[in-house]
Symmetry: C2
Subunit: 194 residues, 2 copies
């Protein structure tokens, strides 16, 4: 049963290293060294590097689903749930300024590689998009999915410029602008119903 723990640890370490260094740049040797196992042992758990990537994406899908579920459960208002999403940019600011967004950077890398796992990676965007659309719909906004995509787009744009310029003040300013935009869209939805 030690095997299951080792496998989970490999996936967790690969998840971190794929994010920090990119999928292709990360080698088995690097993962093995971080997990403290022999390179060869590796293939007892995974047949190929692509299989590890699939496991990493599955892990991210599970952890993201759990995160969004906890927000749905523990945050009362849809408006506050939208803020929880925006606040990711501050909570993970240091990592984002060095490695970008884990979802966006992986999707772009896999697209360039024409990798079969590209669509699976895009599934991570779907989780956030659906969550955001839910909140906009609950707030009475028409075209909730379009608003969700727009907010998702902004988070990606901010992540890219944050990685380029590494300016926390810039990120904070864009977060404030996102909150303003959300409030305006809600007001617009309310006005339309009146």
């Amino acid at each position: 049963m030690r095997g299951a723990e080792t496998k989970a640890e490999i996936i967790a370490v690969a998840d971190r290293l794929f994010y920090q260094g990119g999928f292709e740049h990360t080698s088995f040797a690097e993962i093995a060294a971080a997990v403290n196992i022999a390179r060869g042992n590796f293939y007892y758990h995974f047949k190929s590097k692509d299989e590890i990537l699939a496991a990493v994406i599955a892990r991210r899908m599970a952890s993201t689903t759990a995160l969004l579920e906890s927000w749905r459960r523990e945050i009362d208002s849809p408006r506050a749930r939208l803020s929880a999403f925006v606040n990711i940019l501050a909570a993970n600011g240091d990592k984002i300024m060095r490695y970008g967004c884990p979802v966006g950077s992986l999707a772009t890398e896999l697209s360039k590689l024409m990798h079969a796992a590209r669509e699976a990676a895009v599934g991570l965007f779907d989780l956030f998009r659906d969550f955001l659309a839910e909140q906009f719909a609950a707030l009475g906004c028409a075209k909730a999915e379009a608003l969700a995509l727009h907010l998702l787009m902004r988070s990606q744009g901010v992540a890219v410029l944050a990685t380029a310029y590494r300016d926390p003040d810039y990120v904070a300013a864009e977060m404030a602008a996102m909150e303003d935009w959300i409030d305006r869209e809600i007001a617009r939805g309310t006005a339309a119903r009146a």
Copy 2:
């Protein structure tokens, strides 16, 4: 003098391949095959792969500078120059949906790699940022640089989601939203002066 042509061709091909497949993923063998020269010949022109990267960035800096200069020269109004920027998303839509934005994806990759050329690559963003700030300032907008960064941010966000979802209609919708946002900001600047 054939040497100079070969060197320029290597840089042009490397530029394309770095964009399409990523910097690290692109091998000398791939570039050599595309240029139709022997792998070894390569090192007559460049001492290392990093040197090719530097040349590619320099080439992009030059071509981007030339593009922006032509816009400054040939497009009369600052407002129309902003639209020229937005229209890049449509003009390069197919490539962006497959490979992302050449500027943003390179900057993010080099950041993950902790590559020395990262800052040079960010210089490409500076060119666009300065161009956009110029136009907003000419239109009488306060905080022209912040507006420029915001528009740049949106172009990056749209590029990432375009690569993920590959939906031209989504890109078109965000382009229209960018145009609306520009007009609102200009109106705000005009109102502030009145």
